[in-house]
Amino acid sequence: MDSSMATPSIAADHRPAHLQLINVWKRFGPPERQTVAVRNVDLAIQPGEFVTLIGPSGCGKSTLFNMIAGLIAPDDDGSILLSNKVQQDYGLLGKVAFMPQRDLLFPWRTVIDNATLPLEIEGVSRKAARARAEALFPEFGLEGFETHYPHQLSGGMRQRVALMRTFLFERDLVLLDEPFGALDALTRSMMQRWLLDVWAKHRRTVLFITHDIDEAIFLGDKVVVMTARPGTIKCAERINLPRPRAASVTTTGEFIDIKRRLLAVVEEESLKTFGGATLA
């Protein structure tokens, strides 16, 4: 396999994937009243890639993330591979930087102590942990707030603290579950650009859940669309918009073309969820 001869997109497919999901399923509840949350998911993510995952609410995105983080075991049908190694149930705990949907800051800890929590758990000395966190404060726009408590911060700042905590847990694979879902539109678009800057600097592999199509296209190297529940991968689209991306990219013809295509697919799935709900 001589990748130098191949076109970029094919070359990407031949590099060993950072994360690979093969026929992953998750069913909840006893057999007679079973909820299939995730069905037959196949997905490969290359090192350093920024992949956005979009799908109607309740389609199993968070469940998929919980499996990749090692918090729940996938059913026996398939497997999850990290750097080409098959992972045992719960074997992924401690290997993936996972940021859940809520910020989940600890109210009794100051901002800096919240950020250094994963380092503390890893056994890094308090002094070293703080030094590493302090270096990130300007970049995360939290300078001067080190000794504040979470209840003293705005929603956007809390989210940045949670992101800093995730980044300080230095794992190559980062899972972000709707990190900007609760923010107002202005803050959200600022945070998106900021996240791309941070990502460009640190080059981790990112898997990012959202239910916002603009956000998915603006951030991603690849947008993966999930179907309504039981969720599986409906399609994936590579986004070749040049980087670094400015906010103005969302008004270009190319962006709008991609959006139109994806919107059609996503709408179809959302309608299924909606239709299912009214029939039930």
């Binding site: 090692g70 705990l93 401690g94 996972f98 989940l104 009794w108 994963p118 408590y149």
Partner: protein, 249 residues
């Protein structure tokens, strides 16, 4: 600023109450048996000042020792119950049953076991303090948010780290509620414990005042017990506001 803080404290209300007591009793010719004049109560307090002080310290000591041992045992039991479900199922109902035995019934046995010593009052105080502290510790430890637990696990936290960094801090405000209830009960336990026989203590003085129908003395003791309770509760509140100010989200 200073005056504002003073006005918002309970102090002005206390002054008003004292004034009312001082003026209303002679004005309405209330019999001393029901409510002695404030002056008589103050005079009586001054006459028994050394006894009162000794009794205050003694009861305070019994309460504090009983409370701390009860708190240590209660927190340990709460942690044990939270950690091992079989312990909760096997032992907790027994504690509940024991709890419903009135202290009075149980005080006589304690005196037989420990005699008329400090220890018997301490035991009664700790017996009363133990239960609410154990229950609140258990409840608090069960309050840890499952999503935060999942986050900790994703960071690779051990169960020890999970306990120290998440479950315990989450439980502290609830444990604090138990501690404050336990403190009031420990004081009641110490006073009641003294009724089973002793020579020093506010409870002893209460019993004597009742026996000899010394009404002003009763009021002196009621106020002193109230003062002691307020002091203890206020101290606990101060510690809470300083160290355990957060609430579950």
């Amino acid at each position: 600023m200073k005056r504002d803080a003073l006005l918002r404290s309970p102090l002005p209300m206390l002054v008003v109450l004292a004034l009312a007591w001082w003026l209303v009793v002679p004005a309405l010719k209330i019999e001393a048996r029901y409510l002695p004049p404030l002056g008589a109560v103050i005079a009586d307090a001054r006459s028994v000042w050394p006894d009162l002080l000794a009794g205050f310290w003694r009861t305070l000591l019994e309460t504090v020792i009983g409370f701390f041992i009860g708190a240590a045992l209660g927190i340990a039991a709460g942690i044990g119950f939270a950690q091992w479900r079989w312990l909760e199922r096997g032992v907790f109902p027994i504690f509940v049953a024991l709890q419903s035995v009135p202290v009075i019934a149980f005080g006589a046995i304690v005196v037989i076991w420990f005699g008329n010593t400090l220890a018997s009052k301490v035991v009664i105080a700790l017996y009363l303090a133990f239960f609410p502290i154990a229950v609140n510790t258990l409840r608090g430890l069960q309050e840890a948010d499952p999503q935060r637990m999942a986050l900790m696990r994703s960071f690779g936290a051990s169960s020890r780290q999970m306990f120290l960094k998440l479950s315990l801090p989450t439980a502290l405000p609830t444990i604090m509620i138990g501690l404050k209830i336990g403190l009031s009960l420990a004081l009641a336990g110490a006073i009641v414990g003294e009724w089973f026989g002793d020579t020093v203590g506010l409870g002893v003085m209460l019993l004597q005042a009742l026996y000899f129908e010394q009404v002003p003395r009763l009021w002196v003791l009621i106020l002193t017990c109230g003062g002691l309770g307020t002091l203890l509760y206020g101290g606990a509140g101060l510690i809470e506001r300083r160290f355990i100010w957060w609430r579950a989200e």
